[in-house]
């Protein structure tokens, strides 16, 4: 009986010290995974996921505090990418966080705008230019379509306009016969 106890505790002691040494020797600083997740997220900074921006959401996913299906602007395509990266099953977009919409940019009706700067303070990417008491304008190149500027506007002069299809951003469609044969 005593041998058994000795043997097992000796074994445990040895393995324990080995693991203890390894955890110090191979200690991991920070988390490279967050960068990889953040690179996939669309950087809309819209906070629809329930976190105050894309990076906090990426951190939450990496730590297992959030699901991968909370990002409406990224849509199903991004969920697939995240599932691939993390080796988890694909989940369809959680409707609680919103629905996938065609990419839009904000547009300020310049006749109505009173120049209150509230939208400028709300914009996460500084894509609105203007000064107090002067008309504001959206820099549509920089606008991520997060819609965070709509809510604070006291005169409801901001609307979302879908990005127009032009010859330079037009996309070929997938051949349509796939459903019939193949």
């Amino acid at each position: 009986m005593l041998d058994a106890i000795l043997v097992m505790s000796g074994l445990a002691l040895f393995l324990g010290s080995l693991l203890g040494y390894a955890s110090i020797r191979f200690h991991v600083q920070g988390n490279a995974l967050v960068e990889k997740i953040d690179a996939i997220l669309p950087q809309t900074q819209c906070a629809q996921c329930g976190f105050p921006g894309c990076r906090p959401y990426a951190e939450a996913i990496a730590e297992g505090r959030a699901e991968i299906n909370q990002c409406p602007p990224g849509g199903e395509a991004n969920i697939h990418k995240l599932a691939d990266l993390l080796g988890v099953e694909f989940k369809s977009l959680n409707a609680k966080h919103g629905a996938e919409k065609p990419k839009s940019v904000a547009f300020i009706d310049e006749n109505t705008c009173i120049g209150c700067t509230l939208c400028i303070q709300a914009c996460p990417v500084d894509a609105i230019s203007g000064a107090p008491k002067h008309m504001h304008t959206i820099l549509s190149q920089e606008c991520t379509g997060c819609e965070l500027c709509i809510e604070p506007c006291p005169v409801d002069c901001i609307s979302m306009v879908p990005v127009a299809v032009t010859v330079s951003n037009w996309k070929w469609k997938a051949p349509s016969y796939l459903q019939e044969a193949g």
Partner: protein, 191 residues
């Protein structure tokens, strides 16, 4: 020398741990969706299995002996668990993405029946130290090989027009079955 070669051929092909002995199916099904992950899993399992079968031979021979042989299973489990933990720490350091991709399956190597099965089979077959090591390595190489081949097929099946009810796990099971059947072709090659 020839008997060592036969052990290797036998464990890799003829008595393949997954497709013939049907051990270690959990990671075989779980980590075969992507080739990269399969390669990582194969490497990790090979490491654990070779080290595990060597050290369990030493333990059963020198530490336990015939008197304490009732401690065989539990001490093997403890050693394997230790090695797996060690591997996990190293993988997390060396490749965070692989760590994330292997996910739950990395600590689960502990409960991979192949990993415990091979040391126990070693004991049963009365292998000596080198034979035990080769048996462990052969089993691990056979495991890695079929895991990687299986992952190759599954990656291709991603785009196949598999009927809805058979998508994913079920067609993978069918494939594993057919692969196992193909491996029956090796039977008789090593007596």
């Amino acid at each position: 020398m020839e008997s060592y070669l036969l052990i290797l051929v036998s464990t890799v092909f003829v008595n393949n741990i997954v497709l013939v002995k049907i051990l270690g199916l959990c990671p075989f099904m779980g980590v075969s969706k992507k080739l990269e992950a399969a390669v990582g899993m194969g490497a990790a399992t090979t490491f654990v299995l070779t080290l595990g079968s060597g050290s369990s031979y030493l333990i059963s021979k020198y530490l336990l002996g015939p008197d304490l042989s009732y401690l065989t299973t539990i001490s093997f489990i403890v050693v394997i668990a230790g090695i797996v933990q060690f591997t996990e720490i190293v993988v997390k350091k060396v490749s965070p993405v692989l760590y994330q991709v292997l996910g739950i399956y990395l600590p689960l190597i502990t409960t991979n029946c192949a990993v415990l099965g091979i040391p126990l089979l070693n004991l049963q077959e009365k292998h000596d130290f080198v034979q035990s090591l080769l048996f462990g390595m052969g089993g691990a190489v056979g495991f890695s090989m079929v895991l990687i081949l299986f992952a190759g097929i599954r990656e291709r099946l991603e785009a196949a027009d598999v009927p809805e009810p058979f998508r994913g796990g079920s067609i993978a099971m069918v494939t594993a079955g057919l692969m196992s059947m193909a491996f029956m072709g090796f039977s008789g090659l090593v007596k």
